[in-house]
């Protein structure tokens, strides 16, 4: 029985952490080498594409998606998709995909460049080669070099608020059941199995 409990809580916390890791913003310091547009036809990985309803027909099965091709400071490639999230989940309310693509292609910098232009890409999501999943770039801004430190304020604030509200609900929940218990032990509980 104790293993069932462990497995249950293990799965629960894995789910919560995976969900937060996918949804909350992350920052990469990269060098943009190219931007392009590719026809995609989401299948089993449809969950990891946005296809937001921002004026276009969301029922279309095939569409063109913007991509941003980059290299990280460790010379490993990272490819971002650049899609509207619109009014849907996750709540980034991103509508400026085409503008972001213009900014990205304005900051291209190849390996051979004399002064490489490093940028920070704020994104959410995961890169997975097996399922063709790409993180979605949310915003881009130029930085001085590849070793700038980004303090993830948004993540800190959201995690603190989440922890605070979970704790507040838990305390009240406990108090409520303890109150019931005490009541049960006195006059009303007499004779109750």
């Amino acid at each position: 029985m104790v293993y069932v409990k462990w497995v249950f809580w293990g799965l629960f916390w894995t789910g919560v952490i995976a969900f937060l890791h996918y949804t909350l913003p992350q920052h990469d310091v990269v060098r943009i080498t190219d931007t392009y547009e590719k026809r995609v036809n989401p299948g089993d990985n449809a969950l990891f594409w946005s296809n937001a309803d921002t004026g276009e027909d969301p029922t279309a099965t095939e569409r063109d998606v913007f991509f941003i091709q980059t290299f990280r400071a460790n010379d490993k490639p990272m490819i971002y998709r650049n899609e509207d999230t619109g009014w849907g989940w996750p709540p980034y309310f991103k509508f400026d995909t085409s503008n972001l693509q213009a900014e990205a292609s304005d900051m291209m910098s190849k390996k051979s460049a004399e002064n490489a232009q490093w940028v920070v890409v704020r994104h959410y999501g995961w890169r997975n080669e097996f399922f063709s999943i790409y993180p979605n770039a949310v915003s881009i801004w130029p930085v001085a070099g590849p070793d700038v430190q980004i303090i993830p304020w948004v993540k800190i604030v959201i995690l603190l608020l989440l922890a605070a509200s979970a704790w507040a609900i838990r305390v009240r929940w406990r108090r409520f059941w303890n109150g019931r218990q005490e009541q049960g032990d006195t006059e009303w509980g007499v004779g109750r199995g």
């Binding site: 937001a52 309803d53 921002t54 969301p58 619109g86 009014w87 849907g88 709540p91 980034y92 309310f93 991103k94 509508f95 400026d96 503008n99 949310v138 915003s139 009240r172």
Partner: protein, 88 residues
């Protein structure tokens, strides 16, 4: 526009549930406090009248009006996020 409608309708439903839950909880906290106050004040007069007077004061109070923040804070947050994501 379906996505915007969905957000507005489900958002309104969720926030209304939250609003009702918080106002119910806040009212019950206040009622318990009034019950305790009545005992600590040396049981002055009728218990129900004492509590009902306190509850009537609560209905007018700032604390009760602050629960409207349940609607205001998310809407302001969404507007701020839209601005920061798209126009900065």
């Amino acid at each position: 526009m379906v996505a915007l409608m969905r957000l507005l309708i489900f958002g309104l439903i969720a926030l209304t549930v939250l609003y009702l839950a918080i106002s119910w909880y806040s009212r019950s906290v206040r009622r318990r406090k009034m019950e305790r106050d009545w005992e600590e004040a040396g049981r002055p007069g009728d218990r129900n009248t004492y509590i009902e007077t306190g509850m009537a004061q609560y209905e007018q109070s700032l604390r009760k009006r602050l629960i409207w923040l349940v609607y205001i804070v998310p809407v302001v947050t969404v507007v701020v996020i839209i601005y920061l994501t798209n126009f900065m």
